[in-house]
């Protein structure tokens, strides 16, 4: 057996095309014909692009790299949902067997003021890097580290920190958020570092600096809609946002009282 359930399907794509950040975008329609249900969503776009190139047209630009769901490059909003409708899945791991023959698929870039479109479906997410740069680290110069087992970490804390650390920085949380907020991204980093003993010395400064940076960069404010967490390909929990709210209040009192 193996792959005998494979079929070929035809789709109609409505794809957002935009030449540059300051240009008007619009939807264009394309036929994706004879797509194997074993292909990934990005491979389906590859097939369409190969045809466009041969016709001398400009292929659809989209970010992608590892295609294993870990680098966080791929983005896109597919039929209204970041990374498509399947939960816990990045676009590159979304496969065409989840689509029906003859279906119309609407593909848009991640939309947020902080994520300007570079071209078509490709957006600039460097604002997330700027947030990390503002405080998303533990300040330890190379060579300064004590023995790795010198500071035991309770397994519960280590596991929780790990869950938060699995964030791939794709920005789906921002894209899903009706407010274009990056609270889940920031919350995950604050939790990852704040739950570990190594992260304690900078705990207060970190949450204040990262949140202030987030605001400064034009991300919106959280209204607890929860869309971020359900859209996250790595299932980062909404808990991280609540925890950060707590941490922020505490840090504000400590620092500013």
């Amino acid at each position: 057996m193996g792959g005998t359930s494979q079929r070929n399907i035809n789709l109609k794509l409505k794809v957002w095309r935009q030449k540059g950040a300051n240009q008007q975008g619009h939807f264009e329609e394309y036929d994706a014909k004879g797509i194997s249900t074993d292909a990934s969503f990005l491979e389906m776009l590859d097939v369409v692009n190969q045809r466009l190139i041969k016709e001398g047209r400009d292929p659809i630009s989209f970010d992608h790299d590892c295609r294993e769901g870990i680098c966080g490059s791929c983005s896109m909003v597919i039929n209204g949902n970041p990374h498509g409708s399947e939960r816990s899945t990045a676009t590159c791991q979304l496969h065409m067997r989840k689509f029906n023959d003859g279906e119309t698929v609407v593909i848009e870039p991640f939309r947020a003021k902080a994520f300007p479109v570079i071209k078509d479906l490709s957006v600039d997410r460097s604002a997330l890097d700027q947030i990390i740069a503002s405080g998303g680290y533990i300040s330890v110069n190379t060579g300064n580290a004590p023995d790795a087992n010198g500071l035991p970490v309770a397994k519960v804390d280590a596991d929780q920190a790990f869950n938060a650390a699995t964030c791939i920085g794709c920005g789906a949380c921002v894209a899903a958020c009706v407010n274009g907020s990056a609270m889940l991204f920031v919350g995950a980093k604050v939790a990852h570092l704040g739950l570990l003993p190594q992260g304690q010395p900078e705990r207060n400064e970190r949450v204040l600096a990262m949140m202030d940076k987030m605001q400064e960069l034009g991300f919106g404010n959280c209204s607890n809609t929860g869309a971020c967490a359900v859209s996250c390909p790595k299932d980062i929990s909404f808990e991280n946002i609540a925890r950060m709210n707590r941490e922020y209040a505490k840090a504000s009192i400590k620092k500013r009282s």
């Binding site: 193996g2 590859d46 400009d58 790299d65 740069a133 680290y137 004590p146 699995t166």
Partner: protein, 639 residues
Amino acid sequence: MAILDGKVPPGPVAEKWTNHKFNMKLVNPANKRKFTLIVVGTGLAGASASATLAELGYNVKTFCIHESPRRAHSIAAQGGINAAKNYQNDGDSVHRLFYDTVKGGDFRARESNVHRLAEISPNIIDQCVAQGVPFAREYGGTLTNRSFGGAQVSRTFYARGQTGQQLLIGAYQAMMRQVHAGAVQLYTRREMLELVVVDGAARGIVVRNLSTGEVESHAADAVILATGGYGNVFYLSTNAKQSNATAVWRAHKKGAYFGNPCFTQIHPTCIPVSGDYQSKLTLMSESLRNDGRVWVPKNKDDKRSPEQIPDAERDYYLERVYPSFGNLAPRDVSSRQAKFRVDEGRGVGPSGQAVYLDFRDAIKRLGESVVSERYGNLFEMYEKITGENPYQLPMRIYPAVHYTMGGLWVDYNLMSNLPGLHVLGEANFSDHGANRLGASALMQGLADGYFVIPYTIGHYLASTALPKVTTDHDAFKAARADVDARTQRFMAIKGSRTVDDIHRELGQIMWEYVGMSRQETGLKTALEKIPKLREEFWQNIRVSGDATGTINEELEKAGRVADFLDLGELMARDALHRNESCGGHFREEYQTPDNEAQRDDEKFCYVAGWEWKGEGKPQELHKEPLTFENVKLATRSYK
């Protein structure tokens, strides 16, 4: 031919690095800020080097092709990172890690480098933990380890199946801290297209801004390449789509020697190709072979569903050929055996390019819940990609390219033969010989970046006269002109084939003739086919869109594939010249009666360093002889 000098320091192997650190010249703290260093690449090696050099006080300019430095392909490493911590009290030591790595590399690595790597390995774990890398822990709060292939001790630190991601995020955060401090200037979405050599030394690079198409020049006192491996020469590999060899290849064309290009590692358990639209391959952790049994049908063209094939008609070939190791035979051996079965016409699945990895007996023996506990996440990933449930049907797997041991030749200081050009991580050839052990790639990348280059580059800067060079220098103008000319040439071809089309064809040639097992006739065929394909490429590709103003991925790919075509040819030439089998390089003519790799230590105990001699001319071979004073040359046996 010249003899290459690895500049290995004198003294006993265990003291070389310590002595060398003392003997190297230092740059005084106030002078460090007068030096500008370029780092290309932000994977483990590049990010850790950028962070550390900036902490030391150098001005660092860091470049990456991604929109964020956190997306470098180190992120995809699953298994773990080795370190000689001996936390398990099971007899590990620096010497044992050194020994295992030299032996695992089939005696084609430099002893001194490997020993240094083993010495540094414990510091890496300390550093990463201090940065907040959430390694797996015991309930008591201490770090835990697991075992990996090629070792009899438990020395692999891991973070679930995402060790690479967690280590990279650690290095990335350390680097972003320096970006914030202004010590690292970060240039994202920049692709290095030329190395600039002034008076024989590497003094800068020319890059293209991938978002705007603008070409920029950057001058520095030294250049560090940490741009990863070249597995994508095969088109299909476990490498990320953007992983490419352009930076190292352009450096090679400026005079840097390419070391052991034919040493590639093929991983035995990947999800097989499902169709001609396939864009890349996905690895399934090797750990699956602990409980899965590998088989193919005994009869050719057996089209039955696997569960309908009775045991009597199954060939559990690894258990048959290697009764003592069975399904846990080493990577290279398992990969080759799978290829033999497929070549016999007994491959399975729609393409016939796969074998079964069956958990039926494990589920019977252990129960579904135990199997799910051990491999649940891998089973889910498999199901996501293939749509098949491995609890019910055996997995289909096939070997795939995933790492290249070869790379730019470097000396003990990680500097290539071109003064000032330093090469780190997978991009250099240095530490793994002809075969890399599992969980050693992450170790090497971070060792190079955190703990080697910060010392050795200081020595270079302190002991070299470096007159001021700006981007107005003629060498920069010439390099820019080369970039522009190449771009114009790509845009002007306006042929009928896409770049991917040619790349795919190159990949087929490489896989067929320069893949898992090689032979003289096949390599000669490759050496005929590749130049023809290159000609086709330069006459018939089509790059649509504009060269400037916005993203043009086709143009990016064209440049990379042009380099892969050259590199593929060199790989074939290197494989042809190396008349022996060692590690990942298996020449069918050189095998023991029981199909094991047969080295020829008399003739080939050296590193091949290839020198570029100009377009259309074959590279010249130089040799760095390898001596083994601490690990006795012996046949690598896993019987």
